[in-house]
């Protein structure tokens, strides 16, 4: 069997076995093996990819030719999926409750690998569906309305994609990326010289719009993001590490594909503005809006799962901004941020999983002072928080910095502002998370909480480690990214990123940081003998901190913000969609009762009317 | 003499005339009586047609028709008086 197929199908097969076995421990082991195999193969294939080769595989199946390829780009995305997938699966070993979850989690992982390794539109679509279905089933188990929302939007997205693919296929006669690319390139060239193009302007707009919907839904782009907060929060949180960390990246990957396959054609058709393709603005500005909306809403959440769900949305916004801008640098920056988001958000959700696993609580108001009880988890959270907040020397800083530079270098101040705003609001919600969960007074029922179980700890460990490693040595990532474009867009060394207008040296910063920390530690230990005070025994302005005060940060902390935004919060796309759905259902009812009214004579009239139409049609 | 066409036409007219009662009624039995008469006349018409075409085989058709019509009329009549 071909190695690409092994990478793709190993998780699914493992999942089916785990599901069929349904024996505790065995199924966990099988599941982990299913996640390890693709990762191992990807690592094993690295030398080949590094040598600039692509691994191709073509299968004739169901009357179609399916193409698969492992390219530099897909290898990067697949690695991301492999790592985060493994971490998530490790987490699931602790938190998953049934073989059902193993089956569908691993099925969605297969979908993800399939998407990244497909080299034709149909395979891409099929694995897209597999992934969607698997993740949908994961949500379904936990929450009906969340899964329904996710499902409907996903199905709409998938069907949008199918139509776009179908239109392309109808003209090109093939699904293969190469042939599709060639056709579009030729078309673009023809269009330049005013020749007869394969696709009309309207068709190009339709294809672009359809793909925008398809990828936008999956990525959680505003205003198609409404499924994400619920879906991310209403499932196994270990799985969400993969869901938010990897699955949403398929949307990102889709946008990149869009650029690769038909970027020229779209540019030729719709032109550019300040050297950025006009269609790219749409993606970029939707990304910007996504950053702001996601960030603000994240700040307003009372539930940690929701907080990170919205945070995920917001972070994807960054990536879309970067990709939308469409320069070589910005695309690399986008992918870089995709990786770092996968790493830190995966880590976050595993942390959330651990907290929920140990405490059974999800809301700020029920938490506090956990740092003392769960030191390891807290350490992980510390890494994640720093990374997300974009504090050097963690990976989050490197990618955000790149995006900011890429946007600014394209002279796009508004987008730059949006990105900056996103970072600011990120601090806001992270502070709350930091304080409300880990510090302050601990509710008494959490006094017996234990730290993370081993599998979860390993999973978190892997991700935390990578957060640090890629932060200290950002060139590791940048080097791979450059290979996609084929030139050193991001210069520098392993430790240093150099993009001409600016430099970032992860190692240097780390060294300074370590020195700083050492100084702090020395001061701490050499300082006056401080009385050890339990975190719960806190005074403020000479008065004991009451539970009421303690709760302020945990409950409606950002109420003023909420009130300030009340006008905007009332505009809810969620509600709009709900209204549309309700209207559709009512319409369906009316139609059903009117058309199938039970009266045989009405039915006979239908026949007569068809006869009339036949007669009038002149058929 | 007068010619078979004329008889055919006249009998056909008689059939049509009895149709009047079929549509007019007013009671169901009126219609039934009319149908009965109509079938009787039609039987005669069919026999005459056999002669017109010179095909004796049509006489069988007329007899089958008479039998079925008789059965039908009796059935309706019995239905009307509650005899089914």
């Amino acid at each position: 069997m071909n190695e690409l197929l092994i990478i793709i199908f190993a998780p699914l097969i493992a999942g089916v076995i785990a599901w069929a076995l349904d024996i505790k421990i065995l199924r966990e082991l099988t599941g982990i093996v299913g996640a390890v195999i693709p990762l191992s193969y990807l690592i094993y294939l690295y030398p080949t990819i590094d040598a600039g080769k692509t691994i191709q595989y073509t299968a004739s199946f169901a009357g179609f030719k399916f193409n698969f390829a492992l390219t530099q780009l897909s290898w990067i995305f697949a690695m991301m999926a492999g790592v985060v997938g493994l971490a998530a699966v490790l987490g699931m070993a602790s938190t998953a409750r049934s073989s059902y979850e193993w089956l569908f989690a691993l099925m969605s992982l297969t979908g993800v690998f399939g998407i990244f390794l497909s080299y034709d539109l149909l395979a891409f679509f099929i694995f897209w569906e597999v992934m969607t279905f698997g993740s949908f089933m994961m949500v379904l188990k936990y929450n009906k309305s969340a899964s329904l929302k996710y499902f409907i939007l996903s199905v709409i997205g998938a069907y949008a994609m199918l139509i776009a693919i179908g239109i392309i296929y109808a003209r090109v006669g093939s699904f293969s990326f190469i042939q599709v690319y060639n056709a579009f390139a030729q078309d673009a060239a023809l269009g330049m010289v005013g020749g007869e193009t394969l696709f009309s302007r309207g068709e190009m707009a339709a294809i672009f719009g359809l793909f925008l919907v398809a990828f936008g839904v999956k990525a959680g782009t505003f205003p198609l993001h409404v499924w994400a907060p619920d879906a991310y929060s209403e499932t196994n949180q270990s799985y969400t590490a993969m869901f938010s960390g990897v699955l949403s990246k398929t949307g990102v990957y889709g946008f990149i594909l869009l650029y690769m396959l038909m970027g020229y054609r779209l540019m030729a058709e719709f032109g550019t503005f300040r050297s950025v393709p006009k269609f790219g603005y749409i993606i970029a500005f939707l990304g910007g809006l996504t950053i702001i909306v996601g960030g603000l809403l994240a700040a307003l959440q009372e539930d940690i799962r929701k907080l990170f769900a919205y945070s995920s949305i917001s972070q994807i916004g960054y990536i879309l901004v970067a990709i939308g801008v469409g320069s070589a640098l910005s695309i690399e920056a986008g992918i870089y941020h995709a990786i770092s988001h996968a790493l830190f958000k995966g880590l976050f959700f595993l942390i959330v999983a651990t907290i929920i696993y140990r405490t059974g609580k999800t809301e700020f108001k029920d938490m506090g002072g956990l740092a003392e009880k769960m030191p390891l988890t807290f350490a992980m959270a510390f890494v994640a928080i720093l990374s997300l907040a974009g504090i050097p020397p963690l990976v989050g800083f490197a990618s955000k910095w790149l995006i900011f530079e890429a946007v600014i270098s394209q002279n796009m101040p508004i987008l730059g502002g949006m990105v900056f705003f996103g970072s600011a609001i990120g601090f806001v919600y992270l502070i709350r998370f930091t304080y409300a969960v880990w510090f302050g007074q601990r509710p008494t029922d959490l006094n017996d909480v234990k730290d993370a179980p081993l599998p979860l700890a390993i999973g978190m460990g892997i991700l935390a480690l990578l957060n640090v490693v890629f932060g200290i040595a950002p060139g590791l990532v940048a080097g791979e990214l450059n290979k996609i474009i084929g030139k050193d867009v991001i210069g520098g060394t392993i430790w240093e990123l150099d993009i001409g207008v600016g430099k970032y040296n992860g190692l240097l910063i780390t060294i300074w940081l370590v020195i700083g920390l050492l100084v702090a530690a020395i001061i701490y230990f050499l300082g006056a003998r401080v009385r050890r005070v339990p975190v719960t025994d806190t005074y403020q302005s000479g008065n004991p901190v009451t539970m009421d005060y303690n709760l302020t940060i945990r409950r409606n902390f950002f109420l003023p913000l909420k009130e300030a935004l009340s006008f905007w919060l009332r505009i809810s796309f969620d509600k709009l969609y709900r209204d549309i759905a309700k209207t559709t259902e009512d319409f369906a009812d009316t139609l059903r009762n009117y058309v199938y009214n039970g009266n045989v004579q009405s039915y006979a009239w239908y026949l007569a009317i068809i006869l009339l139409i036949l007669a009038m049609w002149g058929v | 003499m007068i010619g078979i066409n004329v008889y055919l036409a006249l009998i056909a007219i008689a059939t049509l005339l009895s149709m009047y009662r079929v549509f007019r009624g007013p009671t169901t039995v009126d219609r039934l009586v009319a149908v009965d008469i109509m079938t009787t006349i039609t039987t005669g018409l069919m026999v005459l047609f056999a002669l017109y075409y010179g095909r004796m085989i049509f006489l069988d058709v007329a007899l089958v028709y008479a039998i079925l019509a008789f059965g039908g009329v009796i059935a309706f009549a019995r239905y009307m008086e509650g005899g089914l």
């Binding site: 149909l122 597999v130 279905f133 379904l140 296929y169 139609l591 026949l607 036949l614 | -």
Partner: protein
């Protein structure tokens, strides 16, 4: 090998149906087992025919009475008929087994006869090579369907049957007018000869005749808005019969429609007939899906879903391209399997739990896990999730539709599919995540049947190549009229 034995496909169910009155004394179960035996035998013969046609690649032409067409009526077991007659037989066999458990209403002997004749009618409709004989077999199918629809003898059943009768009656009358026109113009009823001479027809006659024939068949093929009888009939009929309606009865009508459409492709107004059919087929999908959306009766909901799928097949056939027809045939096969399974499972649940209302399906995952599993597989397959059989045919239909340039139709059909996804989603949720209850012992035979069908769904979903190659050959059988004409040994009357 001489293929005349294929006439047994007609003779066996007939003679068996006639035999049932003699068996009446032997008791209800004897009749039910007899039914199983006959359908098994039919399956065997159909398998033989299938095997011969697909290995030799040559159709079997059964010449009734030894008369060569167009003098005599011939049956044409080409790739399509061979495949579908087998499906008819297999589904009948499964439903005969299901009847063992599910048919309690008397008189069983009459049920068995009507059951066999329903199977016979569909077989004949698929096999016949004569347009009037098609009418006869269509009526055999329809009238036994009328009777079986009302078989439960409830008010609803009678009502449903009456609707079916009235609409079916109008349809068949106009069908016959169409036949009369075509016969009047060409002097022949043989399909191959009609195809041969179609181009020479008076264009007005051809237009009106073709339109009327399509109209008549569209009632049986459940094309909107001629399908108003169908939800009622599906809901009211005994469960095995509903499965048969959906799995092959409607398909026989659909096939007949496709066959005649393609036979008449030399007729001037062909394109506009197809266009109209595309519109109606799309409407069929949309209206049926919307009607299913808030349906409380699961059997009726699946009935609407079935109609929608039929609309999809009709759309595929109306595209007028080889790829469309292939996709349509493929979808027919897949849909037959899935809907047989769904109606089997839903029927069994309804008879065990006392009704098909959605409330009865609460906690089904715990109460009847096998049936819940089957319904889930069926639902997921119908929605068109990869790794399940319908995905492949649905994608093919959409691609074929877009290839012809009916983007609007593809968009509308997919929009309707979103609706379909929603109601199946709700069903699944009710089954697995709502309610509770004690586990009920599920009937072994029925359990095995649904597992078999579910396995088919998944196997075809994972490995569609074989069935797809069958579908392609069968599709070619419909689409490639020149080879159809060539294969029928017309004796040159009137030439």
């Amino acid at each position: 090998m001489n293929g005349q034995y294929a006439a047994l496909l007609i003779a066996v169910p007939l003679i068996s149906a006639f035999f049932v009155p003699l068996l009446k004394g032997a008791g209800k179960n004897a009749i039910k087992y007899f039914l199983i035996a006959v359908t098994a035998l039919q399956t065997g013969i159909a398998a033989l025919v299938f095997q011969q046609v697909y290995t030799t690649g040559q159709p079997i032409i059964v010449m009734a009475g030894g008369w060569k067409p167009p003098v005599g009526i011939n049956l044409y077991f080409g790739h399509f008929a061979a495949l579908f007659v087998l499906i008819v037989a297999v589904v009948s066999f499964l439903m005969a087994i299901f009847s063992l458990e599910s048919i309690k209403v008397e008189p069983i002997d009459k049920y068995a006869m009507l059951f066999l004749l329903l199977m016979l009618g569909a077989t004949g409709m698929i096999a016949t090579g004569d347009i009037f004989n098609l009418f006869v077999f269509m009526e055999i199918t329809a009238i036994s369907a009328y009777a079986l629809t009302a078989y439960n003898k409830t008010g609803e059943a009678a009502e449903a049957s009456m609707k079916y009768i009235v609409l079916g009656g109008i349809g068949s009358s106009f069908f016959l007018i169409g036949v009369a026109l075509i016969y009047g113009s060409l002097g022949t009823l043989n399909m191959a000869q009609i195809a041969q001479l179609a181009a020479t027809m008076n264009p007005t006659v051809a237009q009106v005749g073709l339109a009327l024939i399509i109209f008549g068949l569209a009632v049986e093929a459940e094309i909107f808005p001629l399908n108003a009888w169908a939800p009622d009939a599906y809901q009211a009929a005994p469960h095995p019969i509903t499965a048969m309606f959906s799995a092959f009865v409607v398909k026989a009508g659909l096939y007949a429609m496709a066959r005649i459409i393609y036979l008449m492709q030399d007729v001037g107004s062909w394109g506009s007939v197809l266009k109209l059919l595309v519109v109606l087929a799309t409407l069929t999908v949309i209206v049926a899906e919307l009607a299913a959306l808030r349906q409380r009766d699961v059997k009726r909901m699946i009935a609407y879903s079935s109609i929608a799928q039929i609309g999809l097949i009709a759309l595929a056939f109306a595209l007028g391209t080889q790829s469309g027809v292939d996709a349509g045939v493929f979808h027919m096969v897949n849909h037959a399997i899935v809907k047989a399974m769904l109606f089997l499972a839903v029927g069994y649940v309804a008879m065990t739990l006392g009704g098909a209302e959605i409330e009865n399906f609460k906690g089904l995952g715990r109460r009847m896990p096998l049936m819940a599993f089957a319904i889930s597989v069926g639902a997921i397959a119908t929605v068109g999730i990869p790794l399940f059989n319908i995905f492949w045919s649905k994608v093919r239909i959409i691609l074929a539709t877009l290839q012809v340039g009916y983007t609007w139709a593809a968009v509308l059909v997919l929009a309707a599919s979103v609706v379909e996804a929603v109601y199946y989603f709700r069903l699944l949720h009710v089954i697995w995540f709502e309610g509770d209850g004690e586990k009920i012992n599920e009937n072994l035979a029925i359990g095995l049947m649904v597992l078999f069908l579910a396995a088919l769904v998944v196997v075809i979903g994972i490995y569609p190549d074989y069935v797809w190659s069958l579908a392609q050959k069968a599709g070619n059988d419909i689409f490639n009229v020149a080879s159809y004409i060539k294969n029928v040994p017309l004796m040159g009357v009137g030439a």
